[in-house]
């Protein structure tokens, strides 16, 4: 399978790799939202950590990803896109935008879905930690 140049670039130079601490530490920090989606047996696990200010602006983002090149690129791109946005703005990011930006083929659409899900999961985690009601939204794949 041929990858788009953008996928190859994110694969070779992934942006914002890492975490804000060990998984046990970030669990209790109210300024960090953590989203882990996927499962090892499915071949994809994405971990997104967002550092969010008290007024809901995403200051920084870090990711780790076990998955194919498209999954790595999707999560790397997601960190670039969420930085500087408010959580509500970040929730507007749709997987189709990721598909378009990275020119993902149909068989790789699930990678972009996973990236969208990781943003949602990380923001929900941050909201829960800060006592903000999470909007009930039907979100099934």
């Amino acid at each position: 399978m041929a990858y788009s140049e953008k996928v190859v670039d994110h694969y070779q130079n992934p942006r914002n790799v890492g975490s804000f601490g060990a998984s046990s530490d970030v669990k209790t920090r109210t300024d960090i939202g953590v989203g882990i989606v996927g499962a090892p047996e499915c071949g994809d696990v994405m971990q997104l950590q967002l550092k969010v200010t008290a007024d809901g602006v995403i200051e920084d983002a870090k990711f780790k990803c076990f998955g194919c090149g498209s999954a790595i690129a999707s999560s790397s791109l997601a960190t670039e896109w969420v930085k500087g946005r408010t959580v509500d703005e970040a929730l507007q990011i749709k997987n189709t935008q990721i598909v378009e930006e990275l020119a993902l083929p149909p068989v790789k659409i699930h990678c972009s879905v996973l990236a969208e899900d990781s943003i949602r999961a990380a923001i929900e985690d941050w909201k829960k930690k800060n006592g903000i009601a999470v909007a009930e939204e039907a979100h099934a794949h």
Partner: protein, 412 residues
């Protein structure tokens, strides 16, 4: 020494045609272009001579008589002809009825055996799909335990194409002869690489392919035993009655000539090739195990073909790993390399955890693979694994001492 890239480590998929094979084929494209079925002129005789020489060469490689070799378009056709052709002839009840007979095969066969067996299942045959143990070896005991009074056919591959493990083929053959059951084995990865003797090994039907042993693509053979017992087959392709009526159609003369030459070369160079390949495999596996942690060689440690190595690299997904080793041509058991998004059914069949199945590479060596190329591969793979483990949340968890199986993952 600088190596020339890309490096080809996918010889279990196909091999480069040996230049000596190409040389032998050339006259049959030009001056000896005849149809072997033309019985009354020079052109036909030349073509027929070419085919009969190839038949002798093929038979010699497996310890058979030339009359017992049928040429086909490849191992897929040979497997189809063997499995469907034998089932039809030895069926206990006519087409359209149930209870037509019992067939034994295993879950990690190539699709060219599995799918014909599944078709037969729909057509009134009972099929037992043996599940291999963790080391991947199908034993005679497993086959014996599955035998029934109405068993008509056993089809167990000689060696597995993804992991290279070697099944108990002579033992299974002896068991089948003892029980009066026809025994077919898919020898695609075995024949030409390992000593083969259909008499000693008690084989009734043996499939193999040209392009896996430095011959051309589009040509294969099926050994069909003629004595003790005389094995009969229902043809799949009807027509001019070529190949003893078992495979009609004008013979692929150039392909068959190349196939024969490839058999002859394999026979002459087998011992030498085998030792070289084994050394390369050891060099690769030792090199990788020495460079990083959580590396698992899949399949039986010793009962394995010398030219195939299937390795899982923990916490790293196979397709992304292949992206990082673009200079190396190999295969992955990862779901993402197939359209189905399912990881290798062979590795799953072995009980290799799904995440390790997603993390696997198959590297396979051939006649022209060098030590320098293997060293280059070790270096590239080690670098790519290192890069990807830095990105891997699973590696972090492993480093933190978290048991991955205790985590509740969010499945899709």
């Amino acid at each position: 020494m600088a190596v020339k890239t890309p490096i080809y480590l996918d010889n279990a998929a196909t091999t480069r045609c040996d230049p000596r094979v190409v040389e032998a084929m050339l006259p049959y494209f030009s001056e000896k272009f005849g149809n072997a079925g033309s019985r009354n002129h020079r052109f036909g005789w030349d073509a027929e001579d070419g085919i009969e020489t190839a038949r002798e060469q093929a038979a010699k490689l497996i310890g058979a008589d030339a009359k017992e070799v049928i040429f086909t378009s490849g191992a897929t056709e040979s497997n189809n002809l063997a499995v469907k052709g034998a089932a039809e002839i030895y069926a206990k009840a006519p087409a359209g009825q149930q209870g037509r007979g019992h067939i034994i095969t295993c879950t990690i066969e190539h699709k060219a055996v599995l799918d014909p067996c599944k078709r037969l299942q729909r057509e009134g045959f009972d099929v037992t799909f043996l599940e291999p143990p963790a080391d991947g070896v199908i034993t005679a005991e497993m086959v014996r335990a599955a035998m029934r009074p109405d068993t008509i056919l056993v089809s167990i591959m000689w060696a597995n194409n993804e992991i290279g493990t070697i099944n108990e083929v002579p033992e299974i053959g002896r068991l089948c002869h003892e029980k009066g059951v026809i025994f077919h084995t898919d020898g695609t990865q075995w024949v030409g690489k390992m000593p083969t003797d259909v008499e000693r090994d008690c084989i009734d039907l043996l499939s193999w392919s040209g392009h896996k042993m430095y011959g051309p693509k589009g040509v294969g053979a099926l050994y069909v035993r003629r004595r003790k017992p005389r094995v009969r087959l229902e043809a799949l392709i009807d027509g001019g009655g070529q190949e003893r009526g078992m495979r009609s159609g004008t013979q692929n003369v150039t392909g068959i000539v190349g196939f024969g030459k490839a058999c002859e070369l394999c026979m002459a160079e087998m011992e030498h090739d085998r030792e070289r390949l084994l050394k390369l495999r050891r060099r690769l596996e030792d090199g990788l195990s020495g460079r990083m942690e959580v590396v698992q060689v899949n399949g039986h440690r010793d009962r394995r073909l010398p030219h195939i190595s299937n390795i899982s690299f923990g916490f790293v997904e196979g397709e992304s790993l292949m992206m990082g080793i673009k200079e190396i041509a190999c295969s992955s058991g990862s779901a993402c390399t197939s359209a189905s998004l399912e990881p290798s059914y062979v590795l799953k069949g072995l009980g290799v955890g799904d995440e390790l199945a997603h993390s696997s590479l198959r590297l396979s060596f051939g006649r022209w693979t060098t030590e320098e190329e293997v060293d280059f591969a070790v270096e590239s793979i080690a670098k790519a694994v290192e890069h990807l483990r830095k990105l891997s949340p699973l590696y972090d968890l492993y480093k933190e001492g978290v048991d991955l199986s205790t985590i509740e993952w969010q499945h899709h």
